[in-house]
Amino acid sequence: MKIQVLKELNAERAARRPVIIVTDTTTGEQRLVKAKDIAADPLRAELSKQLRMGKSGNVEVAGNKLFLNVYAPTAKLVIIGAVHISQALAPLARSLDYDVTVVDPRTAFATPERFPDVPLVAEWPDVALPPLNVDHYTAFVAVTHDPKIDDPALLHAFDRDCFYIGALGSRKTHAKRAERLRAQGAKESDIARIHAPIGLDIGAVSPSEIAVAIMAEITAQLRLPPKEKEEAA
């Protein structure tokens, strides 16, 4: 690996931008493909598939054996609301390798006793969220049921282009939320990105089951190709 390639790889990874290193394992010839350049790459189909799966692998192109090494950032999960569902959601997400943070300004909810081993921020979203560096590789879930907390958090998630945004509440609750967000200047396309009611429809009842429904929906968003994603939603 050329030192320039290694430097670029490390810089992209530090910035949490996905990169794929393409190596011809016969000749040692190598190139670095940034996520933003995949669409214009001759190997775009193979590259986007491997990136979506977060998996490195081999392809054969015109008789050449190429190894595609995927460097994808660790996905983050930001949970707004230190509620009962979050107590089930946080450990489940961690077992799926997400870096989890729980945000809730209500100190009665955000206690280490209720959330052992989970980073907790007992601040309002305007204070709590900027230091978390919420980015595209972040799933963002708002479950407080309190518009004072959920709404500003959702606006932040729109701004950071999170790959998944979900919010707790019935269709009726969500319609009211959409109105409030619209009044605060949110774009229709952003409001449409909110998964609400949250989670895949699996008939979940208990907090743990709702957590499973949420993580299933997040996984589908992360892994399915765009068309199948629409069908799952």
Binding site: M1, K2, I3, L6, K7, L9, N10, R13, A14, T23, T25, G28, Q30, G54, K55, S56, G57, N58, F67, N69, V70, Y71, A72, P73, T74, D97
Partner: protein, 107 residues
């Protein structure tokens, strides 16, 4: 996923900057029950110091030896380890899998 390899790639960059010869060994293919997935890597410097892993510790010694050759020659190498390997008793994978490891010089 290679989330935890960040520090070792950073170490490779730092070693190179300090004037060390450095090699990068990467698992490119696995069959059967291999301990580490494709994309896992090991970085090695010319002191024989290494970070990361390409197996559960079964073949790292052999990879480091080969890596020192690669640092000296500059020519990349493909290594294969598995129970079918004739050196299985020395550096085979006890889990019964087979892995291919690509070793290249950094610089």
């Amino acid at each position: 996923m290679l989330n935890r390899d960040e520090d070792i790639l950073q170490a490779a960059e730092t070693w190179q900057k300090q004037g060390h010869g450095v090699a990068l060994a990467t698992v490119v293919e696995t069959w059967g029950s291999a301990p580490r997935p494709a994309g896992s890597s090991l970085v090695i410097n010319d002191d024989g110091t290494f970070l990361g892993s390409v197996s559960g510790g079964c073949v790292e010694g052999a990879v480091v030896t080969e890596a020192l050759d690669v640092i000296a020659s500059g020519q990349p190498k493909m290594l294969e380890f598995g129970v079918a390997d004739e050196t299985a008793w020395n550096v085979g994978l006890s889990c019964g899998g087979t892995i291919r490891v690509f070793v290249e010089k950094v610089g």
